[in-house]
């Protein structure tokens, strides 16, 4: 091995360590008694679940976990379903107003969310949806990015397949369900991952519309827990709460690493 190649490996390995070690350390700290909070190593003879017990005792984190799962799940299903409907219409059908809808999809993606944040909050308050699932879910039911990805994918599917199905009497929805969905599995996975992750990790919007503990999402609750002092400033407990926030994503990432990378790489088309 040449010196140069060796150097490349040393840099890459150092980089990999600096990316993984903090997470390992976080996991380790969350399992250790409070007295060891300054230990920067990974192993201890005193591993305990006490910190997790403390988190469950102090905040309804189980409820937050359920909230987050429910919200992210609903939003993901909705985005996949409705984006594929719109994507199909834009890619394969012809109807009045099609051009206008395409234009507005682009515009809605170009305009930064900061513009609508406050008015959207007003609207949720007006609907009486503050502190409710509706307020957390309904604004995110549709996604311009999802529409664009579906449209691009569907455009590559030949018209002949639709015509063949139409001649057999398939309705447009049947064509979408029986032909386009199965053929667009990669796009569905991509949009599913992007949407679920986006919803799961979102913290600003829940902090705006939810103030009741019972309705809080996981990241929101963990942030308020560490920030608001309920953790008592104890590293181990904070890291335990944080572990519960990252673990579901890390575990799915370990299994579906390739899909995560592909999905996020394709989010670049909005740039």
């Amino acid at each position: 091995m040449s010196m140069r190649r060796l150097l490349v490996y040393v840099i890459l390995i150092a980089g990999a360590v600096s990316f993984i070690y903090p997470f390992l350390w976080m996991g380790s700290i969350s399992l250790r008694p409070i007295s060891e909070f300054q230990d920067l190593g990974l192993f201890s003879e005193n591993f305990t679940l006490a910190n997790y017990q403390a988190v469950f005792d102090r905040i309804p984190i189980g409820r937050a976990l359920i909230n987050s799962c429910f919200i992210a799940g609903t939003v993901t299903c909705s985005v996949i379903f409705f984006s594929s409907l719109v994507g199909y219409s834009l890619a394969k059908l012809q109807f009045k107003g099609q051009g206008a809808i395409m234009a507005i999809v682009m515009i809605s993606m170009m305009i930064p969310g900061q513009l609508t944040l406050i008015p959207l909050y007003q609207l949720i308050v007006y609907f009486g949806w503050a502190d409710s699932y509706l307020g957390l879910i309904v604004p995110s039911l549709m996604s311009g990015l999802g529409i664009l990805i579906f449209r691009q994918t569907f455009m590559t599917i030949p018209y002949e397949l639709m015509e063949a199905a139409r001649m057999e009497g398939a309705s447009e929805f049947q064509i979408l369900r029986k032909i386009f969905w199965p053929l667009a599995k990669p796009a569905i996975v991509t949009i599913g991952i992007l949407t679920f992750m986006g919803s799961w990790n979102e913290v600003l919007w829940p902090m705006i519309v939810v103030h009741e503990k019972a309705m809080m999402t996981l990241p929101q609750m963990v942030v308020l827990f560490t920030k608001g002092g309920e953790s008592g400033g104890q590293f181990g407990i904070e890291m335990a709460a944080n572990m519960m926030l990252v673990l579901p994503i890390i575990i799915s990432y370990c299994f579906f690493q390739k899909y995560f990378v592909e999905a996020l790489a394709s989010s670049g088309i909005k740039g």
Partner: protein, 371 residues
């Protein structure tokens, strides 16, 4: 009336100035294999899709066995279609592909199974039923596509350039298979292609389309021997017809085609009436197929030779079964197909004759002379 009838069919697309299909009328008898042929963009696929019910008709009517089906839903027409590249559903296996339509129509499972098994038997697909289209060879895919059309027991089967993306060798095999299938079905087959060779070899009758208009309908022999206009004459035939611009003259009660000092006797192809009329047509176009040009002294007794014409060889293509020679002489450039045994060299001067019985005559506008 039994069979399929198109009456003054028209198609206008919004935004297009000219109609895509103009005043198209045609009749198709049961058991007939008819080929719609024309250059790309002539509207042949649109005609097919109007018959299929995939594209709405602007004007005119489509009748099937005496019933007006112009506005009937596609799936209720008793018509099925074999698509370009076959359009098999790639995520379904062969069985599911064949069963797709019946499942959409919610037919009982037992009936579906029986129909699919029967079709599979006829098309030799029994061993392939659980394979996906991606795992099939080109020939097998075509059989699945035919099977999908067959399970509906249609009165009309439409073929939309199914062979256009296959290699030459496979294409010949697939043609045979389609024709055999057509005979088994007994339905009206309407086959669209841009390949005149395919049209001529497969069709009972051909309909030649150009710019949305049906120029000529007839058997392959008819359109080859008696093209109605210069377009058809140039389109049909594996080598395009040669066209020579000249004038008609009358001498001693006989009509001649004249170009420079050459005079070609037209009495074999013109009646006295034509002869009379031709006075009104100063300019004429003489059409002669490459296969109707002979080397001096190398023609049979059946040929009525024109006077000899000297021409220089510009290019030679040896095809094996024949030799194509591109020539240039006082008549301009033209192409001829000669016997395979002939050996000519570039720049050589050859003496050619045309077969006077096989000449074609068009007006300057490309139409035949009026009867």
């Amino acid at each position: 009336m039994e069979g399929l009838e198109l009456k003054n069919l028209e198609k206008h697309y919004s935004g297009n100035e000219h109609p895509t299909i103009r005043q198209l009328s045609a009749k198709f008898k049961p058991g007939e294999f008819v080929v719609l042929v024309g250059p790309s963009g002539c509207g042949k696929s649109t005609v097919l899709r109007m018959i299929a019910g995939l594209v709405p008709v602007s004007h005119g009517a489509i009748n099937l066995d005496g019933q007006d089906i112009t506005n009937v839903e596609s799936n209720l027409r008793n018509i099925s279609m074999v698509f370009q590249n076959y359009a098999l559903f790639p995520h379904m296996n062969v069985y599911e592909n064949l069963a797709f339509g019946m499942r959409i129509r919610k037919e009982p499972a037992r009936k579906i199974e029986k129909t699919v098994t029967d079709a599979a038997k006829i098309l030799h697909l029994q061993d392939l039923l659980d394979k996906k289209p991606g795992a099939l060879s080109g020939g097998q895919r075509q059989r699945v596509a035919l099977g999908r059309a067959f399970v509906r027991k249609p009165k009309v089967i439409l073929f939309d350039e199914p062979l256009s993306n296959l290699d030459a060798q496979l294409r010949i095999e697939m043609r045979q298979e389609i024709l055999k299938f057509h005979e088994q079905c007994g339905a009206i087959s309407i086959y669209v292609t841009h390949d005149q060779h395919e049209a001529m070899t497969m069709a009972d009758r051909v309909v030649i389309l150009n710019q949305g208009v049906a120029c000529q309908t007839g058997t392959p022999e008819e359109v080859y021997n008696n093209p109605v206009d210069q377009f058809v004459a140039g389109f049909v035939g594996s080598l395009p017809m040669n066209f020579i611009h000249g004038r008609a003259i009358l001498q001693e009660g006989r009509s001649f085609f004249q170009l420079g000092s050459y005079k070609i006797d037209l009495s074999h192809i013109c009646t006295d009436y034509h002869l009379d009329c031709s006075k009104n047509f100063g300019g004429l176009i003489l059409g002669v197929r490459p296969e109707d040009i002979y080397l001096d002294e190398h023609y049979s007794h059946a040929v009525a030779p024109s006077p000899k014409m000297a021409a220089q060889v510009k290019m030679v293509e040896y095809l094996g079964d024949s030799t194509i020679v591109h020539l240039e002489g006082d008549m301009g450039s033209f192409t001829s197909r000669f016997n395979k045994d002939l050996r000519v060299r570039k720049s050589e001067i050859l003496n050619c004759v045309f077969d006077l019985k096989k000449l074609h005559l068009f007006t300057e506008e490309g139409n035949t002379l009026p009867d």
